[in-house]
Structures are given as structure tokens and as C-alpha cells.
């Protein structure tokens, strides 16, 4: 798969193969493997501190794994990959900075270029397109730092997508959002994934909001990962093996609950100790 001349659509956009990361004697990621195919929506699910950000950093080339390999569009991960867009966690933009939303999105096209110069008509149109796609036209000419958290997030998504990457990575975009905003962002991302023909990999600590749109899930626990469709992965047998202790999976009104026995030690269950309904 990948290097035999097959069409681009058949080469996975992202291949993570046996990636391990250890730090200060602690194993953070242990032989993690998964794939993301073109146009797919993949959720990287795991509780806080389990290594989601580390995994994303390895994919982005910001951190070198102890072992294993990452391939983007069949080629080994290179520093300056134009095929990846990235929206980091917790970006805080200073209201004193003189930069409009539109300017920040435009930097997504040429932020790496040397020199100054007027952007071409084509480039400016592309920026307008992206602002429209993320529904940010209302505040396109406002200072980025004066926007609310949700608005800034849209601008950052537009910034990441304006150069037409094949894969968009988002680190915990849903954290600290109220349920309504979560729904809006998930719907937006799903729409973008189709319209812009971009695969999405986003990390979250609970999966229920993503169930309607997720094609695949990568479930992280204790440094190990199980990947596949939600139906394949979110099953008692699979998760019990992953966690190392007995786990039940309940489905209730279209929502999924992963439940550990009271008093079971070991790894955190995403999103809660024993029982929470979301």
C-alpha cells in the first residue's frame, strides 16, 4: 500500500506505525499504530494526560518518537509538511495586537514566505472563501484578540485550511466549550471535511459528541491504542484488553458509556471516574 503507484486516494493520508515515546522513565506511548484515510473524520479519544498531545506532536514532527515511524501521504514525515494543518490547544490572542481575523487567515497562505508583498487577487479570494466556509465573515475585519474563544477557534481553523492541506489536526478543540458550541464546531468540522476534501484528526476526552460524524476512532489508554470504527473499538472485549481490567460498555439513547467497576484501579476512563451521563 502506498508506494506501488496506486492513486492518491488509496494512499492513507497518515500512517502511524508502532510509535513509542518514553520520557523520564515513563512510557507515554507504546507501539501506537493507526491510519487516517483521505476525507475521513477520526477521533483520538483518551483522558487527560494519556498522551494525545504527545501523539499529535509526533505526527506534526515537533517531537521525535523513541521508535516507530510516521508517514504522511506515503512519505516519511518531513519538517515542512504542507499537507498538514494544525489548530493547537489553548491559543490566546492578545487584543493589543493589530491584526484582523482576515490577516491571520492570510498568513496561513504565505506565513512561511520571505519578504513583503501584496497578496494576489487569487490569494485574497481564497481567504474570503475560507472565512465564509467557517462562518467568520461577520468578524473578518475585527481584531483577532478581541474575539471570543469560539470565534478565535474558527479563525484558526480557517488559517489551517486556507493552504488546502490533506489532513487537519486539532488538539482538544472541544474542551471548555458548552454543549451547544461543541455541536456547532463538530458540525462545522464535518462540513469542512467534505467541502474542502480534508481528513480530520481531532483529540478529545469524550467521544459522544463525535459519534454522529466519526468514521474512525483511535482510543488511547495507558499508552496503548485501539483503532477502527466505533463499532469495532468501543466494545467490552476490546476495551477490557486495552485497559487491563474489566470494563462495560453501555449504549443509552444513542450515547455510549464506558464504565469501570467501582474500585478498579489502573488507567483513567475517559471523561470520568465511575459513572457520568453526557
Amino acid at each position: 500500500m502506498g508506494r506501488d503507484g496506486s492513486t492518491a486516494r488509496e494512499v492513507p493520508v497518515l500512517e502511524v506505525e508502532n510509535v513509542s515515546v518514553a520520557y523520564s522513565g515513563r512510557t507515554i506511548l507504546d507501539a501506537v499504530s493507526f491510519e487516517v484515510r483521505a476525507g475521513e473524520f477520526t477521533g483520538l479519544i483518551g483522558s487527560n494526560g494519556v498522551g494525545k498531545t504527545t501523539l499529535l506532536r509526533v505526527v506534526l514532527g515537533l517531537q521525535r518518537p523513541g521508535s516507530g515511524e510516521v508517514r504522511v501521504l506515503g512519505a516519511p514525515r518531513v519538517r515542512r509538511s504542507r499537507s498538514l494543518g494544525y489548530v493547537p490547544q489553548k491559543v490566546v490572542l492578545d487584543p493589543d495586537v493589530p491584526m484582523r481575523a482576515r490577516d491571520l487567515v492570510a498568513l496561513g497562505i504565505d506565513g512561511h514566505r520571505f519578504g513583503v508583498g501584496r497578496r494576489s487577487k487569487h490569494q485574497r479570494e481564497r481567504v474570503d472563501q475560507m472565512l465564509h466556509a467557517v462562518d467568520a465573515e461577520r468578524f473578518a475585519n475585527s481584531r483577532v484578540g478581541s474575539l471570543s474563544g469560539g470565534e478565535q477557534q474558527r479563525v484558526l481553523i480557517a488559517h489551517a485550511l486556507v493552504s488546502q492541506p490533506k489532513l487537519l489536526l486539532l488538539d482538544e478543540p472541544l474542551a471548555n466549550l458548552d454543549p451547544k458550541s461543541v455541536q456547532e464546531i463538530v458540525a462545522l468540522l464535518h462540513r469542512l471535511s467534505t467541502d474542502q476534501d480534508v481528513a480530520i484528526l481531532l483529540s478529545a476526552h469524550e467521544m459522544n459528541a463525535l459519534l454522529p460524524v466519526m468514521d474512525r476512532i483511535v482510543y488511547l489508554s495507558g499508552g496503548r491504542a485501539a483503532s477502527g470504527t466505533t463499532d469495532e473499538v468501543v466494545r467490552p472485549e476490546v476495551l477490557t484488553k486495552l485497559y487491563g481490567h474489566h470494563v462495560d460498555v453501555l449504549r443509552l439513547h444513542g450515547r455510549v458509556l464506558v464504565v469501570a467497576e467501582p474500585g478498579a484501579g489502573g488507567h483513567d476512563i475517559p471523561d470520568h471516574p465511575p459513572l457520568t451521563v453526557v
Binding site: S24, R57, V92, L93, D94, D96, S148, G149, D178, S181
Partner: protein
């Protein structure tokens, strides 16, 4: 032993004064400095030495007590910085820079007005660089007293100060007057810095305010431990510096001793660099986070933002 302690070290009057003064200043600087470093206000701490010096030279030139000028200048400068400054770290540094600029401009003016009146050979150098060996012993009690007052003030506000340093939002919700606490801290910082500037000079003032606390914070797990370690490091550095400066008189055939400031700063910087070594940090139980891609300029803490209507 003779090699380390040159003749006359322990009986020298100036050395005694220097040692006592140095230790007092080191302790005050260490404690105030721990908060300064935690609050990312190193620029203000340094700028205030220059502002205080402007006040001191101004007072000196009009015949007032320089100490009053130092402290007055520092306090006014700190007040101005706090009033103009905003919560965001980067904007605070701008306010500090503006106040520093004005103080420097005033220095230029004073120097000009002064040179048209009488010669300043040496006086400028004395004020700019200071010299711990030539301090008048009579200022020692005043310095100690004011230092004690500053420490007492810090002790009084230490808990609200810690909380508002860790998180201004949480502190505000807890009913702490964050702006007021910030201002009080700046005033205490001004006094501490003014004292150390006049006792040991501006360079050392900043070095002892920032160096030992920064080193201690890297190696300690709690603020209290950091304060104790910072005091210990500050005092040890100062005494070792005094010793080496005294000895250096004998090293160079020209018998021009190297200034104490040089030794103390060098030791301070070396200690800070050592504390950054991965091996040292692991021993201290502090695990390094993986190197981030963030730039070295300070991150902007979240300003309270209007949230989207829910």
C-alpha cells in the same frame, strides 16, 4: 587556607560592613525576588534600579539625602508603572519601558544641568556602579530597618500575593483586590531595589534580585523552599564574592582589585546555568517538560474575555 583568605580579611572594617550589608540586602532581595520572578516582573525590578538611581542623583545634585531620593524615585516610578500598566504581561513591560525611558531622559537632563554647574568626575560612576566597600557604615542601620519593614510588608500580603500571582481570575473571585495587591508589591519591590541599589549598586541589585531566586525556583518544589534556598544562595554568593574581590587585590600585579560586583554576578550566573542542567533538575525532582515550540517571549496569560452568549 592562606591562599583563600588573604591577610587581613577577617579583621578589615570595610569587609565587616560589606558582609553585614551584603547579607541583609541579599536576604531582602531573595525574598522579594522570588515573587518578582514568579510574576515575570524582572524588567520592572531592573528598571526600578535605574529609576531609583535617577532619584538618587537628582537628590544628590540638589543637596538632599540621596537615600531619600533613591526611595522616593523608586516609589514614584513603581506607582507610575503600576498605574499605566495593564494585567497582560507584555503590556506591563511596555509601561515599565516607558517609565524607564522617562527616568533616563530625566537623568540626561540632570546630568546636563549638573555639568553646567560643577564637575561630576567619579560621582556618576559611583552612582551607576556603586561600591560596597565604600559605603558609609552609618547607613547600615537604616538599610536594615527599611529592609525589615519591606519584608514585613511582603509577609503581610504574601498569601493574597501568591494567589493573585498564580491566577488573577481565581483571586479576584475570592475577593482579593488584585490590582491593589499588585501595586503594594510594586511599592515593596521599589523600596527593596532602592535599598540594594544604594548599598551595593544597581548591577548587583538586579543580580541578587533575579539570580538566586530564579535558581532557587528551578530547584525547589514549593515557594517557601524557594525563598529559603534563595536566601542561602544570595548570602553565600555575596560573601564568596566579597572574599574573592578582596583576594583579587593580591592577584594582579597592578594591585587593582576587581570589583565585587563582577564576582557576585559571575557566581550568580554560573549557579543559574548549573541549575538548568538536566542532571541537576532531575535530582531536584523537577521533570523537564518536553521542549516546546513556543517562542521565548512571555506567553500572554488569558485576559478575562467576553464569552459567547450561551
Amino acid at each position: 587556607m592562606h591562599v583563600l583568605f588573604e591577610p587581613g580579611f577577617f579583621v578589615s572594617g570595610p569587609v565587616h560592613t560589606a558582609a553585614v550589608l551584603g547579607a541583609v540586602v541579599a536576604v531582602v532581595s531573595a525574598i522579594v525576588g522570588v515573587f518578582t520572578v514568579m510574576r515575570s516582573q524582572s524588567f520592572a525590578g531592573h528598571a526600578l534600579t535605574d529609576v531609583a538611581t535617577t532619584g538618587g542623583s537628582g537628590a544628590f545634585l540638589v543637596g538632599l539625602n540621596p537615600l531619600a531620593g533613591f526611595i522616593g524615585g523608586g516609589v514614584i516610578g513603581a506607582g507610575a508603572m503600576d498605574l499605566i500598566g495593564v494585567q497582560r504581561v507584555r503590556s506591563r513591560d511596555l509601561a515599565t519601558g516607558i517609565v524607564l525611558g522617562v527616568a533616563t531622559g530625566l537623568s540626561a537632563l540632570l546630568l546636563y544641568l549638573d555639568t553646567t554647574q560643577h564637575a561630576t568626575t567619579g560621582a556618576t560612576q559611583q552612582i551607576l556602579f556603586g561600591s560596597i566597600f565604600t559605603v558609609d557604615p552609618s547607613t547600615v542601620p537604616v538599610v536594615i530597618a527599611l529592609g525589615a519593614v519591606t519584608l514585613a510588608a511582603i509577609a503581610v500580603i504574601s498569601r493574597p500575593l501568591l494567589l493573585s500571582t498564580a491566577s488573577p481570575e481565581i483571586a479576584a473571585v475570592a475577593g482579593i483586590p488584585v490590582r491593589l495587591i499588585g501595586l503594594l508589591f510594586m511599592l515593596a519591590l521599589a523600596v527593596a531595589v532602592a535599598l540594594s541599589s544604594i548599598a551595593i549598586g544597581s548591577i548587583l541589585s538586579t543580580a541578587l534580585l533575579i539570580g538566586p531566586p530564579a535558581t532557587a525556583l528551578r530547584l525547589s518544589r514549593s515557594v517557601h523552599a524557594a525563598m529559603i534556598l534563595a536566601c542561602a544562595l544570595g548570602v553565600a554568593t555575596t560573601w564568596l564574592g566579597i572574599l574573592l574581590a578582596y583576594d583579587s587585590y593580591y592577584w594582579v600585579s597592578s594591585h587593582q582589585a576587581l570589583p565585587v560586583s563582577f564576582f557576585i554576578v559571575a557566581i550568580t550566573v554560573v549557579l543559574y546555568l548549573l541549575s538548568g542542567l538536566p542532571a541537576v533538575r532531575r535530582r531536584a525532582g523537577r521533570v523537564d517538560p518536553p521542549p516546546t515550540a513556543a517562542p521565548m517571549t512571555p506567553p500572554v496569560p488569558a485576559a478575562p474575555r467576553r464569552q459567547a452568549a450561551r
